[in-house]
């Protein structure tokens, strides 16, 4: 099969899978609904309960899951290629810890829940992630032309623990109800009940995915070695910068929308590589679609498994993702 055909098949198969999951998910839930009524034009929307549940209660949440899942899986792929390390995750470089600290502060300080129509927590967490990205980036550039991936990794890991300490300190100062809300936030939560947060997340995600589109061939070369990429005419410094900033932006936007949902950024890329191989022109789109499908499916389980209770989606992804990942590890040795 030529590479052109492989790329086409990957897009069609994984894309169709993601669309299928995203259509099936809003139909699933404690109240059964029927697609025929949902799209029926004869019943006015105000009287159409099925349509209301579909479009107001469930679809925003499914779309949020798709956006967060694909952003985390795709940035996982980019971080792994950038750091030449298959164990890197979107959270390795401190982006999520910064986002969490921002969210903690907003929750604990009871920031006014509405700045220009957006609630404070996602804005604060997005700002926190940008702050973390800025610090790590500045450190990695400080003593190096371009960016040093070693410094990047060390700075990221250190910042992760530093921010975690600050988060614990903020929680220590907070009262009981605040602590409960912050812990819930840390578990990851896709409880989105309007389209506003989705619209807010579109610009940063669109920007990141536009950058992702030009990266795959260069990531192939970069994941062999910086020298081999440079000798083939890749502008290594520019590519590393683009990869780091776009993947961080996508991670920041995803975390501010759904919280730090774990495991997607590592399980999905690995699973995808088992199916399509290592070529990033296949791995990146397949992971983006696969991440969307996986998180939407996990969120559907989280809504329905213990209904009417709702298990935080981060718990589901870790419970499914963890053992699955271990199985992959054992199977491959």
């Amino acid at each position: 099969m030529t590479i052109r055909r492989k790329i086409a098949v990957t897009w069609i198969v994984f894309g169709a899978g993601a669309v299928l999951v995203c259509v099936a998910a809003p139909l699933t839930g404690s109240t059964p609904i029927d697609l025929r009524y949902v799209f029926s034009s004869s019943i006015p929307f105000a009287d159409n309960l099925d349509a209301q549940i579909f479009f107001v209660a469930r679809l925003p949440r499914v779309l949020a899951g798709a956006m967060v899942g694909s952003a985390l899986a795709a940035s996982g792929v980019v971080f792994q290629a950038l750091l030449r390390n298959p164990l890197a995750t979107p959270f390795t470089l401190g982006v999520s810890a910064g986002a969490a600290l921002g969210a903690m502060l907003a929750l604990t300080l009871n920031l006014p829940s509405g700045i220009a129509g957006f609630s404070a927590v996602p804005i604060a967490s997005f700002a926190g992630s940008l702050g973390a990205v800025g610090i790590v980036y500045a450190l990695a550039r400080a003593r190096h032309r371009g960016i040093s991936t070693n410094v990047l990794l060390l700075a990221g890991v250190t910042l992760n623990s530093f921010f975690s300490a600050l988060i614990l300190f903020v929680q220590f100062l907070a009262d009981y109800t605040q602590t409960f809300r912050t812990v819930r936030w840390l578990m990851g939560d896709l409880d989105v009940s309007s389209y506003t947060p989705l619209v807010a997340a579109v610009p940063p995600l669109a920007l990141s995915f536009a950058a992702f589109a030009v990266l795959p061939k260069r990531m192939n070369l970069l994941s062999i070695s910086e020298e081999s990429a440079a000798s083939r005419g890749v502008d290594v410094h520019r590519t590393q910068r683009l990869a780091f900033l776009s993947a961080s932006l996508a991670t920041g936007a995803a975390v501010s929308l759904g919280g730090p949902v774990g495991f997607i950024g590592i399980v999905i890329p690995h699973l995808v590589r088992l199916i399509v191989g290592a070529d990033h022109r296949l791995v990146l789109p397949a992971s983006a679609f696969g991440g969307a499908a996986f998180l939407v499916a996990c969120d559907t389980i989280s809504r329905t498994a213990l209904s009417p209770l709702e298990v935080p989606v981060g718990v589901i992804t870790a419970i499914i993702g963890g053992p699955f990942f271990l199985w992959l590890l054992i199977r491959n040795r």
Partner: protein, 288 residues
């Protein structure tokens, strides 16, 4: 014709400010040549190769390919005519052998362009030239050291277009190509490089501290000592006990080997650089 090929002229370079690794180095890799860059560890061999490949920019001096400065030539154009093979290749992800070879076509493709049948043919041809075509579908990480090295060489070859259209110099640079290989693989790489040079007219430069590899393979040698060129010239002229003693501080015996058909260097004893006036007892050159 004189300056055709890859030439470093008066090149000074260092990684840290005010600590040059190379000083005023002139290195000529003539078109169709097979040049060895020889020197002890830390003499700047790898740095010189990276400068010749255009991966580093010299502080002073310039590197030119067929009399065109690499800076003027541009990153992409240089990558279509100069390829470099690193000492060792460790993959983080499991690419197949064919994928590794096809990646060499990168400098010929646009941002969103996918390699076509012609690129695939060139990659396969490169695998054939290094005797690795039968491994095409194998994961790179499952290969032996020698096979890996040959596949990486194939990927470098794939950076060039078909060898027919070559009134331009195409240069393959190899950093210690046999350093981590056992005896059989060393011979294998040696014969692959010789064949590429002879049948394809490929210009080749290798860095090595293996004197016998240089003796068996190279036509010209550049002796690099602590960042400066100690001597440069034809291989037999450079493989002189006195020069080698100066370079490595080792007394050697150099003889023409009757069956191998080339010079052989036998290290005899660690020299004593302080007693420079004393003529080394054992260092002599026997010609047939």
């Amino acid at each position: 014709m004189t300056d055709c090929g890859l030439v470093a002229n008066g090149v000074t370079f260092g990684y840290a400010r005010s600590a040059p690794v190379l000083e005023e180095v002139r290195a000529v890799v003539p078109r169709g040549g097979l040049v060895g860059i020889l020197g002890p560890n830390g003499s700047g061999k790898t740095t010189l190769l990276r400068l010749l490949a255009g991966l580093l920019s010299p502080w002073r001096g310039d590197v030119s390919l067929d009399r065109i400065n690499l800076k003027t030539l541009g990153r992409g154009a240089a990558a279509r005519r100069i390829a470099i093979v690193p000492q060792e290749t460790q993959l983080a992800f499991d690419y197949s052998v064919l994928e590794m070879a096809v990646m060499g076509r990168y400098p010929h493709l646009g941002t969103f362009e996918v390699e076509g049948p012609e690129d695939l043919a060139i990659a396969l041809d490169a695998l054939r030239a290094t005797g690795t075509a039968h491994l095409a579908s194998r994961p790179f990480n499952t290969l032996s050291g020698g096979e890996k090295q040959r596949v990486v060489i194939a990927g470098a070859l794939a950076q060039f277009n078909a060898p027919t259209a070559s009134d331009a110099t195409e240069v393959l640079l190899l950093d210690e190509p046999t350093a981590s290989l056992d005896l059989a693989y060393q011979l294998e790489i040696r014969s692959v490089l010789l064949a590429l040079n002879r049948t394809r007219g490929l210009t080749i430069a290798i860095s090595t501290h293996d004197l016998n590899l240089a003796a068996a393979l190279c036509r010209d040698l550049i002796l690099l000592d602590r960042g400066r060129v100690l001597a440069a010239g034809s291989m037999p002229a450079m493989l002189e006990p006195a020069l080698i003693r100066k370079l490595y501080d080792v007394d050697v015996d150099i003889t023409a080997h009757p069956t191998a058909g080339h010079l052989v260097v036998v290290p005899l004893a660690r020299g004593n650089m302080r007693g420079n006036t004393q003529e080394p007892r054992a260092a002599r050159r026997r010609d047939q």
